[in-house]
Structure formats: structure tokens, C-alpha cells
């Protein structure tokens, strides 16, 4: 028997209940003192889209069919990614008081943050799906693959978030670094510009960007109404898999040490 024996006996219920409680807490406190409440999750991507549409439509409208939908789908996906990874980043340091006092597996904190972001994502899907209905018409059966695309996205974000949360424990400037990196990442991802404006060399480099594959997956479903090609599937699986593998490995390697650095 080892130190781990607490778990098996005392926790027959598992951590599902705790995760649900944490996500519900995030949801309730987030909107408790705001007038528009949950509507922010709907409005936020629409406002960003409005601004970027005004700025970029003259440039790109001719090159992309359904540019507003192209823009909105990119924004919703990318916003979720930065929100989830950013929330996971502070999840360990932000819960220091709990981690040093209560015995629950540390991964509960980043996972609950990403799940909370996913709840917000569900709300921002509302304007996205409405826009898809208005521009591309009634979606075909391929739209049923959308949850899968979002799962790829969430796993990619969780993996990155786990790595960032670990780094944050040791280096408190990770937060600011991530602010700059995520900004750069946005410009390196075709959120508001079409891939076609990139020169050949850069386009090949885009293959290394996990978000490119995931956003392409979602856009193929919503804009073209068809099932993404094998390259995109492979890209998505690799993004989610590698991200979880690397982030998870870094996190599990260091998590027992967190308590001493908090």
C-alpha cells in the first residue's frame, strides 16, 4: 500500500460530482453581477466579428465565399482556444489556497476551467449556427460531426493549458508571455484572412499549426457542408493527441511538486 490508498476507498463517488460543482460555480459567479448575463457569450463573438468584418471585408470578401460566416467560425474557435488555455494557465496558481489544503487530484482544476470555457462555447455556437443557417442554408448531415471538431479543439486547448499551468507554477511571468504568444498565434492562424493570400512556403508552415486543422475541420462542415478530407482528420487527431500527450506528460511529471511551490 502506498500514499495513493486514500483514493480507492474514500472516493467511490469519483470526481465527476466535484467537476460538475466547479463548472456550475464558474457559470453562476461569472454572470452573477452582470446585467446581460449569459448573453455576453453570444454577443462577444458577434461584436468581434462585426469589427473585423468592417475592417477586412473590403480586402477579403471577394476571395472567400460567405466571408461573415468564415470570420465568425474562426473567431468562435480561436476565442474558445485562448479562453480555455488562458483559464487553465491560472488554474493551479489561482487555486493555491485549495491545493495546499484539500486533497483532490490537481488536474481537476485545469479540466474544470476548460469545461467551463466549453459551456461558454456552447452559447457562442448559437449565433454561429444561426449565421450558418442564414448564409449556407439548411445544413447537411455532415454538421453532425461538429461536436467531434469541437472535441478536437477542446483537447488541443486542454493539452496546451496543462503545459501552461505547470509553467505558471514555476514562472509567474508565463501569463504575460502567453498573452504575447496567443496574439502572435492568432495572426499565424487564418482566422480573418483566407489561406489563399499566403505564399506557398508559409502555407506549408501552416500545417504545423494545430488550430489551422481544427478550424478547417469546423469550416468545412459549416461552409462547404461536407465531411473534411483525410488530411484534415489526420491534422486534427495529431493536434489533439500530441497536445494532450505533451501537456499531460509535463503536468503529471511535476504535479506532486506543485504544493511546494505554491
Amino acid at each position: 500500500m502506498s500514499a495513493g490508498t486514500h483514493d480507492a476507498s474514500a472516493r467511490s463517488a469519483g470526481y465527476g460530482f466535484l467537476l460538475r460543482q466547479l463548472v456550475a460555480r464558474d457559470f453562476k459567479t461569472r454572470y452573477k453581477r452582470s446585467v446581460l448575463g449569459v448573453f455576453w457569450s453570444l454577443l462577444n463573438p458577434l461584436m468581434t466579428m462585426g469589427i473585423q468584418y468592417v475592417v477586412f471585408s473590403a480586402l477579403f470578401s471577394g476571395q472567400v465565399a460567405d466571408y461573415p460566416l468564415y470570420l465568425l467560425s474562426g473567431i468562435v474557435c480561436f476565442n474558445f482556444f485562448t479562453e480555455a488555455a488562458g483559464a487553465a494557465l491560472t488554474s493551479v496558481t489561482g487555486n493555491a489556497a485549495l491545493i495546499t489544503r484539500v486533497h483532490v487530484p490537481v488536474e481537476v482544476y485545469p479540466v474544470s476551467r476548460v469545461l467551463s470555457a466549453a459551456v461558454n462555447l456552447l452559447f457562442s455556437l448559437l449565433p454561429l449556427l444561426t449565421a450558418a443557417l442564414l448564409t449556407a442554408g439548411l445544413p447537411g448531415p455532415s454538421v453532425l460531426l461538429l461536436p467531434l471538431g469541437l472535441a478536437f479543439l477542446a483537447l488541443t486547448a486542454l493539452g496546451v493549458g496543462l503545459g501552461l499551468a505547470t509553467m505558471m507554477v514555476y514562472f509567474r511571468d508565463t501569463q504575460f508571455l502567453w498573452g504575447a504568444v496567443s496574439m502572435l498565434w492568432m495572426y499565424l492562424t487564418p482566422v480573418f484572412y483566407p489561406v489563399s493570400i499566403l505564399p506557398e512556403g508559409l502555407r506549408r508552415l501552416l500545417m504545423l499549426n494545430p488550430l489551422y486543422h481544427v478550424i478547417t475541420f469546423v469550416r468545412t462542415l459549416l461552409l462547404d457542408g461536407r465531411v473534411p478530407g483525410p488530411g484534415t482528420w489526420l491534422g486534427c487527431a495529431a493536434s489533439a493527441g500530441l497536445s494532450m500527450l505533451l501537456g499531460g506528460a509535463v503536468f503529471t511529471r511535476h504535479r506532486d511538486e506543485f504544493v511546494m511551490y505554491l
Binding site: M1, S2, A3, T5, H6, D7, S9, A10, R11, S12, A13, F17, L18, R20, Q21, L22, R25, K28, T29, K32, A97, L98, I99, T100, R101, V102, H103, V104, M167, Y170, F171, R172, D173, T174, L177, D256, V259, M260
Partner: protein
């Protein structure tokens, strides 16, 4: 049942720790990071059987809190093992996990989830928890409107809702007003006598001598003495213990 075997805990901290990526990079250029070791516990062994109350005494910095945290599973042993059987109730830092924006009711569930209770268990005990806390209609109000005494009453009521097999107690709390203090102390004694294996840290030697069967005297992270509660307390008192 609590069984602790040759338990050692070492805090390993980098000497002049870098707290930013920039600093770290600069340090690495200058040479490898050196670590400083501090052994908070060294080769500690003991068992507490069901129905047995084991008191832990020792001066500040002896490793008492580290021991409690390790048994509660928060710290991981550097070497040695900690084995527990059954439901564990750590009565440490009550109210961790409370969210002051949420109502008393919502916090019962949130805090309960942190303590590892299931939803069914909380549904069943909910009325009794509210009754015990004596919060009445305030249970529907957000915690930020509570007085600190009310928060502690709620925290204690949630923590004391279980009948644990292993109970970890850091001082018998005196929270709330006089009436609640008496009730919470009574409930604590009830839990301690209720057949659990109890690990009880206190600075009050009188309480240890009164409530415990055996006592463990820690000093500098090592076991100085382990045995009958009265004689260990007597030796500790005589041996210059505070």
C-alpha cells in the same frame, strides 16, 4: 486504520529560486541550479487502529502540520508510506473551497464535493447540516453577507456530517458563539469516540492527555517519543516542552 511507515518528507527548493522565465534563462546560463534540502519529517512510523485516538505534540516547526497534510494526502511522501482504510475526514482548514459569491446552500454542495462526498450523501444530510449550523433562513443568502462566525459554523457543519473511519483533527475548534462552541466541541468528541482512527494535533497537553489513548512527540521532524498519552505528555512537559 492509519499506518505510517518510515515516512520522510523532504522539501527540495532551488537555492535563490528564479520566479520568471527570464531569470531562469539567465541563471541557467551561469550554471546549474542548486537545491537546498529540508527534511520536515524523518523516518516517522506509527499506527492508529480503529477506535484509537493518537495525539501529536511537539514544538512549532516539529513537523506536526506536515504530518497531518501528508496523512490527508495533500503532500506526497519523499520516502515511506501512508496507508489509510475507509472514509477519511480531514478536519483541517475548514471551509476551503467556499465561494463567497454563492449561497450557503450552494456552498454546502461545493465544499462537500471537495471533501469527497457524493451528491446522494449531501442530499440526504442536507437538512441535518443546515440544522446543525443554525443558519436558518440565511442558508439562501450569499456567503459574502455572512459574519466570519457564521461561515465557520457552516464549514464545521459540512465537515462534521460524515461518520469517518479516519479522522484528522488540527486542534479542536472553538468557532461561533458560546452555544455553537459547546455544540461543535461536543460533536467533535462524539466523532473522535465514534470508532474512527483519529490523528489529533493540539498544543493543549491537557486535551491530549484527556482525549487520546496514545501520543506521539515530534521534534525536529523525528519521533522523540511514542506511547501512552499521559506519560508522553508528562515527559514532554518535563522535557522543556512549552
Amino acid at each position: 486504520m492509519i499506518r505510517v511507515n518510515d515516512l520522510s518528507i523532504c522539501y527540495r527548493m532551488p537555492r535563490d529560486r528564479a520566479t520568471s522565465v527570464k531569470e531562469y534563462a539567465l541563471r541557467r546560463l551561469r550554471g546549474p541550479v542548486r537545491y537546498e534540502e529540508f527534511w520536515a519529517l524523518r523516518d516517522v512510523s506509527f499506527t492508529a487502529r480503529r477506535g484509537e485516538v493518537l495525539g501529536v505534540v511537539g514544538p512549532n516547526g516539529a513537523g506536526k502540520s506536515t504530518l497531518l497534510r501528508t496523512v490527508a494526502g495533500i503532500l506526497r511522501p519523499t520516502s515511506g508510506t501512508v496507508a489509510l482504510e475507509g472514509t477519511v475526514a480531514p478536519m483541517l482548514e475548514l471551509g476551503s473551497g467556499f465561494d463567497y459569491e454563492l449561497t450557503g446552500r450552494e456552498n454546502i454542495y461545493l465544499n462537500g464535493a471537495f471533501l469527497g462526498y457524493s451528491k446522494a450523501f449531501l442530499d440526504e444530510k442536507y437538512d441535518r447540516i443546515v440544522d446543525f449550523s443554525g443558519l436558518g433562513q440565511f442558508i439562501g443568502a450569499p456567503l459574502r453577507s455572512y459574519s466570519s462566525g457564521m461561515v465557520m459554523r457552516l464549514a464545521f457543519s459540512v465537515a462534521a456530517a460524515v461518520r469517518p473511519d479516519v479522522l484528522i483533527v488540527d486542534e479542536i475548534l472553538s468557532v461561533g458563539d458560546g452555544e455553537f462552541q459547546a455544540r461543535s466541541a461536543e460533536r467533535m468528541r462524539e466523532l473522535m469516540r465514534g470508532g474512527a482512527a483519529v490523528l489529533f494535533v493540539s498544543h493543549s497537553l491537557d486535551q491530549v492527555a484527556e482525549l487520546c489513548d496514545r501520543a506521539l512527540w515530534l521534534e525536529g521532524g523525528r519521533v522523540r517519543e511514542l506511547g501512552d498519552a499521559r506519560s508522553v505528555c508528562g515527559a514532554y512537559r518535563a522535557g522543556g516542552g512549552s
